[in-house]
Amino acid sequence: MQQDTLVEIDNLKQYFAIEKGIFNRKVGEIKAVNGVNLKIKRRETLGLVGESGCGKSTLGRAVLRLQEPTAGDVYFNQENEKVSVLELNKKEMRKVRANMQMIFQDPFSSLNERMTVMDNIIEPLVVNKIGDKASRKKRAGDLLEEVGLRREYLSRYPHSFSGGQRQRVGIARALSIKPQFIVADEPVSALDVSVQAQILNLLKKLQKELDLTFLFISHDLGVIRYVSDRIAVMYMGNIVEIGEREELLRNPHHPYTEALLSAVPRAGQSRNRIVLEGSTPDPINLPSGCIFRTRCPYAEEKCAEQKPEWENIKGEHFAACHFKDSLELKGIKNRKRA
């Protein structure tokens, strides 16, 4: 494992069996995550973007082992030692998980309503038996100030807070145990735009101050662009393209990335949009060859026969498309208005 890699995801697969009848006969499986390889570097934000059902949240949960992946492995760089997260027993896992935390999408269901803000924030400390009562209280107060809330709020209950304030408490809780790696699963999707911008700025500030590494999951390309160093585009359980932020957005090499970028509404956009036909294919019967071919405006015979391999475009930019060299795809524009 390279020094600067914090998390390595190796051919990770997460299948969900579909069962039928009283004997739970397996009639098929949903390949939610279908062989993902990713390296997340220390102190970077890797943005993971895709539409609903593409498997991005499942991937995030599998990386933290909140569910047991079907196959593959996840490695974590623990004090320069490569630890396989999936092989750890419960006790060892607890130690590693102290370094990995999650921020959830819905600030209204991710906090415990029956616990005060303080108890919510220090729960990870209690579970991991870190500190004593006084030090935990001090830490909770410091964290509240860090995320832009007043120390007095410690004794309040979550119901008296707005969505943005709750999300700040959720962030404070994730930080309480001083993790190195945070999976943020759509952390701003449920918030109004001005609150969303406040939270995004907060996350960027915290990252700089605390040397955090983020896997940032979102369906919103504008948000992803704002926070990410590199971006991975996911479609039907597969990463189809990955690259440094501006390089990928300005110079996409996978038709799905192009379509996704052109779908984002903005002034004057409708006249030159690539509208994808139909909706995503049935996840139980994935198409042969390239998974995107059924909706791809450039698909040819070869796409049905052969699964495209990962190929390097330049530097850290990779794409899985047979025609990545011959297609001239459009990225984001240089100027704000068309």
């Binding site: 539409e51 943005g164 735009v193 609150v195 995004l200 390309l221 509404p265 903005r266 002034a267 984001i332």
Partner: protein
């Protein structure tokens, strides 16, 4: 109505909710108009009163606790008669004939807008037959198939017998639009029509709305918190904050040259996809409790350009026309 171009004019509309905790002035003096064949976008954050405004037009405000306490909603009917919707009996025949027939609405969550126990076709046919009791059922069925076809549902003659759970979110929103269009409305109110949908599906739906407007010449009010959506489809945009429109102009004007500090803050909160990456400079704080709205300009305590002694004193001026057709309610622009 002063202007024959307009199909709908709201004048000083006030819809209040009388709750146990106090009065919520959800809509508190809105002045907006919708032009014939054009799209008005209403944008604002949660709690700004944009949905209540839309529901007030169709008189869908639950009463109690809600009530239109002041103002008017002038609507020009098919036969050019002008009628004040705010004065109608919310349960009366007149508004019922207008709902669905002349003005129809599509909602945010297509998944909960259809009843789960009837087929899509049955529910659309029902809407058609209520407004045209004399129509034969076979004819209504054909019309339903045509509508589903028109909104881009493949194999409409088969899908007419599908149940809502057999449709994806995007398909349901299309079916919802088909139902809204079933009586050829002259005004379509779309309340967050794409918020629950993925971007690629959102793009399809926005495109569909524009096509349908070109074909039928209907007016549209689109309500959303998403500036990008509004900038793409709306001809005019109104920005709402705490029950009032704070700025109103043609789309290009308001996007390129926002005047109200709240509009500016909103614009600076949205991470852009094109151009250089810029730092977001959001409005600080949060929307105040609607029951205890501060005196003076309701935006004063969050406003970066607040003028002490002015903004926190009296009510902000009524519409000031800063450039032609570009209105703002803000002390910064008063003489």
């Amino acid at each position: 109505m002063n202007n024959n171009e307009n199909i709908l004019e709201m004048k000083n509309l006030k819809t209040h909710f009388f709750t146990d905790r106090g009065t919520v002035k959800a809509v508190d003096g809105v002045n907006l108009s919708v032009k014939r064949g054009k799209t008005l976008g209403i944008i604002g954050e949660s709690g700004c009163g944009k949905s209540v405004t839309a529901h007030s037009i169709l008189r869908l405000i639950p009463s109690p606790p809600g009530q239109i306490v002041d103002g008017g909603i002038q609507y020009q009917q098919k036969d050019n008669n002008i009628i004040d919707l705010a004065k109608l009996d919310a349960r009366g025949d007149t508004i019922r004939k207008i709902r669905g027939n002349e003005i129809s609405m599509i909602f945010q969550e297509p998944m909960t807008s259809f009843g789960p126990q009837y087929t899509i076709g049955y529910q659309i046919m029902e809407a058609i037959l209520i407004h045209n009791p004399e129509m034969a059922e076979t004819k209504a069925k054909n019309k339903t198939i045509n509508l589903l076809d028109q909104v881009g549902i493949p194999k409409a003659e088969e899908r007419i017998d599908s149940y809502p759970h057999e449709f994806s979110g995007g398909m349901l929103q299309r079916a919802m639009i088909a139902m809204a269009l079933s009586c050829s409305p002259r005004l379509l109110i779309a309340d967050e029509p794409t918020t629950a949908l993925d971007v690629t599906v959102e793009a399809q739906i926005l495109e569909l709305l524009e096509e349908l407007q070109d074909e039928t010449g209907m007016s549209i009010i689109i309500i959303t918190h998403n500036l990008a959506v509004v900038s793409e489809v709306a001809d005019q945009i109104a920005v709402m904050y705490l029950g009032r429109e704070v700025e109103f102009a043609d789309s290009d004007q308001i996007i390129d040259n926002p005047l109200h500090p709240y509009t500016k803050g909103l614009w600076n909160s949205i991470p852009s996809l094109d151009g250089e990456l810029e730092e977001l400079k959001p409005v600080k704080g949060t929307v105040p409790d609607p029951i205890n709205i501060p005196a003076g300009c309701p935006f004063a305590d969050r406003c970066p350009e607040m003028m002490a002694g002015v903004c926190d004193q009296g009510n902000p001026p009524e519409k000031i026309e800063v450039e032609e057709g570009h209105f703002v309610r803000c002390f910064l622009y008063s003489e």
